[in-house]
């Protein structure tokens, strides 16, 4: 037996009072004249034995009453007939990340974890407080039946979530409950990728279950990347899978099989496709099912449209025109007026690829044109120092003539800097425009005469300067996402979920089209984290070492968890019992006393011996 408030044990000294009073030969100073004293003497002589017994009984009852009260004040807890436990704040954390969906010995691992959680919660009493915390941080508390119902409804997540945060949150819950014992029960598959570092949980007990043995073999789709992001209308999908063995795969577009193939080992393959549909299309790459179904499919989304219609103005230069002709011949662009490629000083509209003028004399006209088009950049005085460009697609390209870009009015400019030269912006992009600070001539830069020039130009025209297909968002399951402006919701499960500017990605994998009113303006692609497919586990010792708490117990058998969850507290508060005993003693004392007190005398005590 232990005490939660041992300072009150000092009250046990009070038991000395009735003992002292019993042993004390009191000095009685009240004298009463009583003619029939001889009868009183005779009564005392005849009842002395009974009186001594009665006084002894009263002394014992009073002593016990004080003893029980003092012990009750000290809030004792102890085992009583081997049942019950102290009030416990209990948070059961169930790891329902994607990896726990793996089938082990014919049963999903998550089902075993749920059964263990159910057994633990069923052991809770009315004095306990229980919560269920899942890996995505969702907390369910309240009555035991509510928590049990929530356990039944646990489904595996589409990704790895943040189990460490969930456990930390659970520890905070039980500590805030201010009950006698704070216990966190952790039911997990001990996936090593989930535990990159230590978790400090503070002053709580941790009872965890981590399975032992070899993790099941798992193969996953690791790559399903549309290239380019916008198809016009041709495109390709880069496909990859984990595992050393060959595996067949399938590429689907809008649920229809578009291609099949065989992957060898961890190779990647490019699957070229030309869908007939236009607009946003959901696609997926899937493998034959294995023990973990969650990562046997990987989703992608692509915008499919016609090739952009481009008008190249004369001042753009011969290199640009030649390249444009080549792109037209490849059907990557068409001749038209949707996108303009022009020298800045002669540009008339957006979207446009804007090139610096060949003649520095046209600098003023160029800046006026930028102002007219609403572009927040201005060209500075010409510089003819040779420098090297830094940036994707143009890395290492020599630049010999350039007009340094300055923000209009000196204000910060909200645009992408695609490349720099001498640390200054060289190629910048904004909505509907790409601005290059040099003309596309061999004297100004080597870019038009290098091999990457054609794909660079093609990418700008078909991807960057095309208004459609810009709303692609990729996210991990259950993570915060930032949606493009104007998005009002996303489609999923045949219904539209309204969202704001920021939202949380669904916890399951899939493609969710972004909606602006009735219009599809993008797609949210949710795929599991690749590391979640690695099912290798920590050993029991490694897992235990990751957890830092007051007391950590790791059980390899789930049935041990329910027992150990209350093991250290397999005691119950004895306060109520002691109070009942004290009350019983008081009642007994009153009965013993009142048996000698006729009813009428309890109210009136007349004086004797007048």
């Amino acid at each position: 037996m232990s005490f939660l408030a041992p300072i009150w044990l000092a009250l046990t000294a009070a038991v000395a009072v009735p003992l002292f009073l019993h042993l004390l030969r009191r000095r009685i100073e009240i004298r009463r004249e009583f003619p029939a004293a001889r009868y009183l003497l005779r009564a005392e002589k005849e009842n002395v034995r009974r009186l001594k017994l009665r006084n002894l009984l009263l002394m014992m009852l009073r002593t016990l009453t004080l003893l029980f009260l003092a012990l009750a004040a000290a809030r004792p807890i102890g085992a009583l007939l081997g049942s019950g436990h102290v009030p416990t704040a209990l948070a059961v954390v169930v790891d329902n990340t994607m990896s726990t969906g793996a089938i082990v010995d014919g049963t999903p691992l998550l089902s075993r974890l749920k059964n263990a959680a159910r057994t633990v919660v069923q052991g809770a009493t009315g004095n306990d407080q229980a919560w269920l915390v899942t890996a995505d941080g969702v907390v369910t508390g309240g009555a035991r039946d509510v928590v049990l119902d929530a356990i039944d409804r646990i489904e595996p997540l589409g990704g790895r979530a943040d189990l460490s945060s969930a456990i930390t949150h659970a520890a905070g819950l039980v500590l805030a409950a201010d009950l006698s014992t704070s216990t966190v029960v952790l039911l997990t598959d001990a996936q090593s990728s989930q535990w990159p570092g230590d978790v400090n949980l503070g002053d709580v007990r941790v009872v965890a279950h981590a399975p032992t043995g070899t993790a099941p073999f798992n193969r996953a789709v690791t790559m399903a990347e549309p290239q380019p992001p916008r198809w016009s209308p041709k495109g390709s999908v880069l496909v990859g899978a984990s595992g050393a063995d060959s595996v067949t795969y399938r590429v689907t577009l809008d649920g229809r099989t578009a291609a099949r193939g065989l992957l060898r080992g961890s190779d990647e393959q490019v699957v070229r496709l030309e869908p007939g549909e236009r607009g946003w299309i959901a696609g997926a790459v899937d493998l034959a099912p294995d023990e973990l179904r969650g990562d046997d499919e990987r989703h992608f989304a692509v915008w499919v449209g016609d090739a952009p219609a481009v008008n190249v103005l004369p001042a753009a230069g011969p290199f640009v025109r030649e390249a444009f002709d080549a792109l037209v011949q490849s059907a990557l662009v068409t001749r038209g007026s949707a996108v303009e490629v022009a020298s800045v000083d002669e540009a008339t509209k957006l979207p446009a690829l804007l090139l610096a003028p060949n003649d520095p004399v046209r600098l003023g006209a160029a800046n006026r044109s930028l102002e007219r088009l609403g572009i927040p950049w201005r060209l500075g005085d010409v510089r003819r120092d040779e420098t090297i460009a830094r940036g994707a697609d143009v890395e290492g390209t020599p630049v010999r003539l350039r007009f340094p870009l300055r923000p209009a009015g000196g204000a910060a400019v909200a645009s992408d800097t695609l490349a720099t030269a001498s640390g200054e912006p060289w190629i910048v992009a904004g909505p509907d425009y790409v601005l290059v600070a040099s003309p596309m001539s061999a004297e100004a830069t080597s870019l038009p005469i290098t091999a990457p020039f054609l794909p660079w130009l093609s990418n700008l025209l078909s991807q960057r300067l095309t208004r459609e297909g810009s709303g692609l968002v990729r996210a991990d399951p259950g993570t915060p996402i930032r949606l493009p402006p104007g998005v009002t919701g996303f489609e999923g499960d045949s219904q539209v979920y309204p969202v704001g500017a920021t939202a949380t990605a669904p916890s399951r994998a899939g493609v969710f089209f972004l909606r602006r009113g009735e219009e599809r303006v993008g797609a949210l692609v949710v795929n599991p984290e690749r590391e979640e497919s690695r099912l290798d586990r920590l050993s029991t010792n490694e897992f235990k070492a990751r957890l830092h708490a007051r007391d950590v117990f790791v059980a390899t058998d789930p049935s041990d968890v329910a027992q150990r969850a209350y093991d250290a507290s397999a005691q119950r508060p004895l306060q109520a019992l002691l109070l009942l005993l004290a009350l019983g003693c008081l009642i007994s004392e009153m009965i013993v006393v009142r048996r000698a007190e006729p009813r009428g005398l309890r109210r009136v005590a007349p004086s004797l011996g007048s």
Partner: protein, 304 residues
């Protein structure tokens, strides 16, 4: 059902009644109330012994006019004769210190109650034309009034009660009883009124003598309710006012045993006196005066 308050003085609460006047007034009320509740006695007294003169009143029998007085003093006087008494009675009253005690200020002391009973019994007997004598004792004989049937006898008795308080620290009951038995020459009534806190054997011996003389003996055992039930609480030293006995007791501890002891003592008295052929009644001081009066009168009625 509401019960009407008693209107007869013999049925009224003794303490309330005693507060209304002097002892002789109270005694008259009690006896009047008592007699009004009885059938008139069929026994008629007769007298041949001259008692006193009184002025003639119209309607008086001319045979009882004392003509010698008329001739000598020219006053019309009528001779009255004392009737021959039916019975002679002696009342033996304990006036020791233990009797002068009450368990509550709302009750009469045992002595006060007993004196009132004595006055009432005496008046009742005198009205019955019985001769009544009185013996009062504590540690000595304080009053010895020979039995007489004259109305002045009652005044003597009342006077003795009122002007000679007792409160001695001993009860010489045997002596009192013997003296009482001597007061009446032929078999009569001896009424002993005491709290019986005396030596039982000595008292028994005295009563045996009285019974041997042919007297009808009735003992009225006066007890305060507090003596019967120990109706107090707490703990104290209880001391006997007539001796050195002191008992330290916690009332709640001994209450039941005490009540049982008193009950047992009363039973002992009842058996002991019954064996002597003496009457025995326990009279509580909160009983109306009619109760002891009825007990004493019952004894008188048993005599021829």
């Amino acid at each position: 059902m509401p019960v009407a308050a008693p209107t007869r003085a013999d049925l009224i609460d003794p303490a309330s009644l005693a507060s209304l006047g002097r002892i002789e007034i109270i005694a008259r009320w009690v006896v009047d109330g008592f007699l009004s509740g009885l059938h008139r006695s069929p026994k008629k007294g007769f007298s041949v012994e001259f008692a006193e003169f009184r002025p003639y009143q119209p309607g008086d029998d001319l045979r009882f006019i004392d003509w010698r007085v008329v001739a000598r003093a020219d006053k019309w006087m009528v001779k009255q004769f004392e009737e021959e008494t039916n019975t002679r009675a002696a009342i033996v009253l304990d006036v020791s210190r233990s009797m002068d005690w009450s368990g509550s200020p709302e009750r009469l002391t045992k002595l006060r109650y007993a004196e009132q009973v004595v006055a009432a019994i005496a008046l009742l007997l005198i009205r019955q034309r019985d001769a009544v004598g009185l013996v009062r004792y504590d540690d000595r004989l304080r009053t010895v009034l020979p039995a007489r049937a004259r109305s002045i006898q009652w005044r003597r008795i009342v006077h003795a009660i009122e002007h000679d308080p007792g409160a001695g620290t001993d009860s010489r009951m045997a002596e009192g009883i013997q003296q009482g038995a001597k007061l009446i020459r032929r078999p009569g009534i001896v009424v002993v009124i005491s709290d019986l806190l005396v030596d039982a054997d000595q008292m028994e011996q005295a009563l045996r003598v009285a019974r041997a003389a042919g007297h009808q003996v009735t003992v009225l055992h006066i007890m305060d309710p507090a003596e019967m039930e120990l109706d107090t609480r707490g703990e104290a030293i209880f001391y006997d006012p007539e001796g050195t006995l002191e008992v330290t007791a916690t009332v709640s501890d001994v209450r039941q045993a005490y009540a049982k002891t008193v009950k047992h003592a009363i039973e002992e008295w009842r058996l002991r006196l019954a064996a002597l052929g003496a009457g025995y009644e326990v009279i509580r001081t909160d009983s109306p005066f009619g109760v002891p009066l009825r007990k004493a009168f019952a004894t008188r009625q048993r005599l021829p």
